[in-house]
């Protein structure tokens, strides 16, 4: 693939595919299916999801999943900047709707889930993250919320559930003085939510920290190093210092030699064992 094709593909991803993915997430994140009529119910993002989405965006910037200075800069043309701002906006609304998709719609559970999201995202603001770790952490966070809402709670409050489920649901309602107020939807809602979250995480994987590949890779490396926890920094330092003491070519030679020695050693050992056994047999005779 030549440079022109690569550049065109990158532009297609950045200007067309990513906004499309994030807007589809924004569309499907609020979609529920009515349990009785199977009609669509569109739930706009509640205020708390917009706030959580702001926290998510700051987390993306802090974790260098988005290099804001590279996405929007005076060095680029106005059209490119507009396009990038639109992509980031779609990411913001997709994040809000992805959260909307895994939050219960009302009642105590809505506030509990919101609180836990707020707590986790707020704590993450003060943690060291690189883009890959952040993505993994978010995938786990959304996965857990999805499991709790669309599998555990949906199963507990399912209208066709057995008596044990109904009793558990009733006890939960009574125990929370009726504040639980869980809204039941058709099972298709869970499938839509799963697809939405998969699309959202897929979009995040495709989202690069900077729109164009970083030319000054040393700077990027330095930044990545600064984001590491102290222990891992030590490991990086040690691995950098190791080849400096020995020349790379020399190190390769040494390693080849070591391998040869090891192989030879095994062979020699095997031979020597045979020899020893033979000698023992001779001795017995």
């Amino acid at each position: 693939m030549n440079t022109v094709q690569r550049s065109r593909n990158r532009a297609l991803l950045r200007f067309v595919l990513l906004p499309m993915i994030f807007l589809t997430v924004a569309l499907l994140g609020g979609l529920r299916i009515d349990v009785d009529t199977h009609a669509f119910i569109f739930i706009p993002p509640p205020l708390i999801t917009l706030i959580l989405s702001v926290l998510l965006m700051t987390l993306f910037i802090r974790g260098h999943a988005i290099e804001l200075r590279r996405w929007v800069t005076s060095e680029q043309s106005t059209l490119t900047n507009i396009s990038h701002v639109l992509t980031l906006l779609t990411l913001y609304f997709a994040s809000a709707q992805a959260l909307n998709s895994v939050l219960p719609e009302r009642g105590l559970l809505f506030w509990l889930f919101s609180f836990f999201f707020l707590w986790t995202l707020w704590n993450n603001q003060f943690s060291n993250f690189d883009a890959r770790r952040l993505l993994r952490s978010l995938a786990v966070l959304f996965g857990t919320a999805f499991f709790l809402k669309h599998m555990f709670l949906a199963s507990l409050f399912a209208p066709e559930g057995g008596w044990a489920k109904k009793v558990a649901g009733f006890l939960l309602e009574v125990g929370t003085l009726g504040t639980l107020d869980y809204q039941v939807f058709a099972p298709a809602t869970g499938y839509i939510s799963f697809f939405t979250l998969a699309l959202y995480v897929g979009g995040l994987i495709l989202l690069t920290p900077s729109p164009e590949p970083e030319e000054r890779s040393a700077l990027a490396l330095l930044r990545a190093y600064q984001n590491l926890p102290p222990l891992e920094r030590m490991t990086v330092r040690a691995s950098i210092m190791e080849p400096q003491t020995n020349q790379p070519a020399l190190a390769q030679e040494v390693s080849t030699e070591t391998e040869t020695i090891e192989i030879r050693g095994e062979v020699v050992e095997a031979e020597s064992e045979d020899t020893l056994a033979g000698e023992k047999e001779k001795g017995k005779r």
């Binding site: 532009a11 950045r14 906004p19 499309m20 669509f40 569109f42």
Partner: protein, 166 residues
């Protein structure tokens, strides 16, 4: 040059898709049919099924109000035609009207539908020239439905049995 084209297409596509999402959340369609009907209405190509409309009108004249309503709902799945909505509201009124009492549930539903018809009508005025009807405007029908829903001393008036259905 190619880059610029991709950017322009991307911006246009993003804006159009965003408008579509806002429209979906604003109108809250309940089925794919309603989505399609809404899109047709937005582009000015929406038309009701005239065959179903006429069939429903015949049922209405035969006082089969429930069946007529269902047929009109099929004729206007997007609920975008003011005239059809007016007839649906009228069917609610006629079915809910009683010599001794009004069916408040049907009247409430009728009121919702007539309000929708008024919203759909240009400048909020809807006149239906049908000689078989006694009320020809949506405003008259709305007033009649509201009157039926309001509790008053008239409810205990024994002479109300002589009132006439419109």
């Amino acid at each position: 040059m190619q880059h610029r084209l991709i950017q322009s297409v991307g911006i246009a596509w993003t804006i159009l898709y965003s408008i579509f999402i806002i429209w979906i959340y604003a109108t809250e369609p309940r089925t794919f049919k309603e989505v399609a009907a809404g899109a047709q209405a937005a582009t000015g190509t929406y038309e009701i099924d005239q065959g179903r409309f006429s069939a429903a009108l015949e049922m209405f004249h035969r006082e089969q109000f429930r069946a007529a309503r269902e047929e009109w709902q099929l004729a206007d799945p997007g609920m975008r035609d003011a005239r059809t909505q007016f007839y649906i509201a009228y069917a609610f009124y006629r079915e809910g009207w009683g010599r001794f009492y009004y069916d408040k549930d049907l009247f409430k539903q009728g009121l919702d539908v007539v309000n929708r018809a008024i919203n759909l009508a240009p400048e909020g005025t809807l006149v239906v020239d049908d000689p078989d009807l006694q009320m020809h405007t949506a405003a008259e029908l709305k007033a009649e439905l509201e009157k039926g829903l309001e509790p008053g001393l008239g409810d205990i008036n024994p002479f109300k049995v002589f009132r006439k259905r419109k």
